[in-house]
Symmetry: C2
Amino acid sequence: MKKQFATLCLATLTTCCFAQQNLFGEQPPLSPEVHSDHSVTFRLMAPKAESVQITGDFLPTQKVNTPYGEYDAPGIADLNKDANGLWTFTTKGSLKPELYLYNMIIDGVKVTDPANVYAIRDIANTTSIFLIGGNRADLYKVNKVPHGTVSKVWYDSPTAGMTRRCTVYTPAGYETSRKKYPVLYLLHGIGGDEQAWTELGRAAQILDNLIAKGKAEPMIVVMTNGNISQEACPGETSEGFKVPTMALPKTMDGYFEQAFPDVIKFVEATYRVQKDKGHRAIAGLSMGGFHSFYISINNPDVFDYVGLFSAAIDRQQQGGLDTIYADREQKIDKLFSMHPKLLWIGIGKTDFLYKNNADLRHYLDSKGFKYDYMETEGGHIWRNWRIYLTEFLPKLFK
Amino acid sequence: MKKQFATLCLATLTTCCFAQQNLFGEQPPLSPEVHSDHSVTFRLMAPKAESVQITGDFLPTQKVNTPYGEYDAPGIADLNKDANGLWTFTTKGSLKPELYLYNMIIDGVKVTDPANVYAIRDIANTTSIFLIGGNRADLYKVNKVPHGTVSKVWYDSPTAGMTRRCTVYTPAGYETSRKKYPVLYLLHGIGGDEQAWTELGRAAQILDNLIAKGKAEPMIVVMTNGNISQEACPGETSEGFKVPTMALPKTMDGYFEQAFPDVIKFVEATYRVQKDKGHRAIAGLSMGGFHSFYISINNPDVFDYVGLFSAAIDRQQQGGLDTIYADREQKIDKLFSMHPKLLWIGIGKTDFLYKNNADLRHYLDSKGFKYDYMETEGGHIWRNWRIYLTEFLPKLFK
């Protein structure tokens, strides 16, 4: 019997996942290993490799010149090889609590860490991930709390002329309660898609944890695909397993904003939701902040809560629907004449959109329009967007 | 404006995903490239590598000796390097329509193809994937048909003493219709989890496509986690990003089977479903076939449709709940005394569980119990389990 069970394991391993190495002693070394002091060791077994490096957002950045100007590229560090061909790198001291991204570079080829099955696709790249808990980063972990449901849902968008996919979070208890819930529409940045907030944004974990602590109201969160030319994220449409690209048409030209009421209509017809301004919020990062800004000022009676996370404010593309972007200041005035409960703005000190946001704030200040403002270290990065989400959610629907 | 848009792209690329190479001309070569004749070229840019190989299930297998006996390991082929350091391999002729899995081996290190963002974790390994359409494999593609919703849902299992996650497929139209639907419970194999059928099994695509063609009834499909010691798949529990393992306790010792009514109770309390034997089905692969077999014979009045895909039939582990496995033949007799509409058995000709299934068939034959039987080429592999699903679904709820 035991032999048959071993055979069952063996057959499963070898024929469906090429994993025979795991069974016969060649299992990969533990990588990454997070030590109790929150230093981290990375390991790669590669006796034949001449060079193994690691690049990640926990390493000091390095200045790089590009045709578009200088920027801070993620740092690179060398792993050291021992006599058995095991390459190792340990961080200098502890890492702060955070979700980190990294890649290995084997003889010049950037790959995910072969010993780490946890990886996230971000646009056209896949990076390995790990999480150091503690402080705010505990909100990014799966904890022993009630969990909401995450669904990939398709809805009709007559305005866009297609069926489109969104990701919907319904809070723990939604299935069994008869309650109606408020709704947050949460939008991604350029190149991203309807999976960005649940993958890199850890949105489901943040919501589960804040709701369990009583710090956020139980709410439904609808994460749309902001690329109006796409039905869904790469790999999930009839285009097949196509290489993802940032060079998508019609991302910031008004058509997504124009079609947005189709999403709201679907959500309010499908889920048990509160259908009034006081129970609707919209927020987004970067391009999604741009979308949130123009959707809210063009529909001043729809959302009582608006969040701009490292938002592009100025129009970015020519062509498209001028009406969405016309008369911006009058539209802002109109929005505020309807007494929204919250306009929340977050931006990193070194974000290239800092001035863009400062200009908006100056306008709001000049008119005496109230808003909440948070300024963080660093620039246009997911670390900041996760922080902004954890700050924004507790202010909603109170 | 254009410059700011480029900067927005740049900032997004560089700070959150290390993708600067894509913007500055070093983009990876296209890999895999499926040609019009369905031959496939794989490419890897690695000027400093000494050796690049590929291993995948489209290559001829090779015999390998192990402590557990000889087995067919996936084949390996060499890529050829050109003067620029571009490594290339093209398959000898066309590949048959299928979902294929592969890895690159760079100087001895097995990695996913860095140019291909589409990869699937299977237990402790991650493999790159691609799909050759045509024939049955068109059912594995995302086509322009109405799409169902795929949800990650948590339910209480008082019998297991924990909250557990399952994946639920609801067919296109579920949200807007007021109809009640039949339910298929679809179970994974050893080492797998509640994501296996939607990832490697392409279950959502197969269901969307068969339902759109009118070949399968619109149905709800509930994909549980068959490892009763787990709350959910690796990375989705409070254990964090732990290395997945096949060495889980309590996988085939009766406790999963015992707790199964909790899933049914949750599903029937939560979704609009038809709650009678004629509208319930259960099927599973390998260990999931074992689970389906013992759940159905222990609950002879619950399912009218049972599918055993490369199922383990004999008890695999000692200890645990003897009552689940006791009196097997009497239980089979009882099941058939209640006139189930379908017992469906599928097995590969070289499957190590072939005899196990043949013994069951002999017993059924000796009693005159009817069943459907399909024998396919090959062994204990996902290719067969996708085939079995496409054959099984059209027979349900008719």
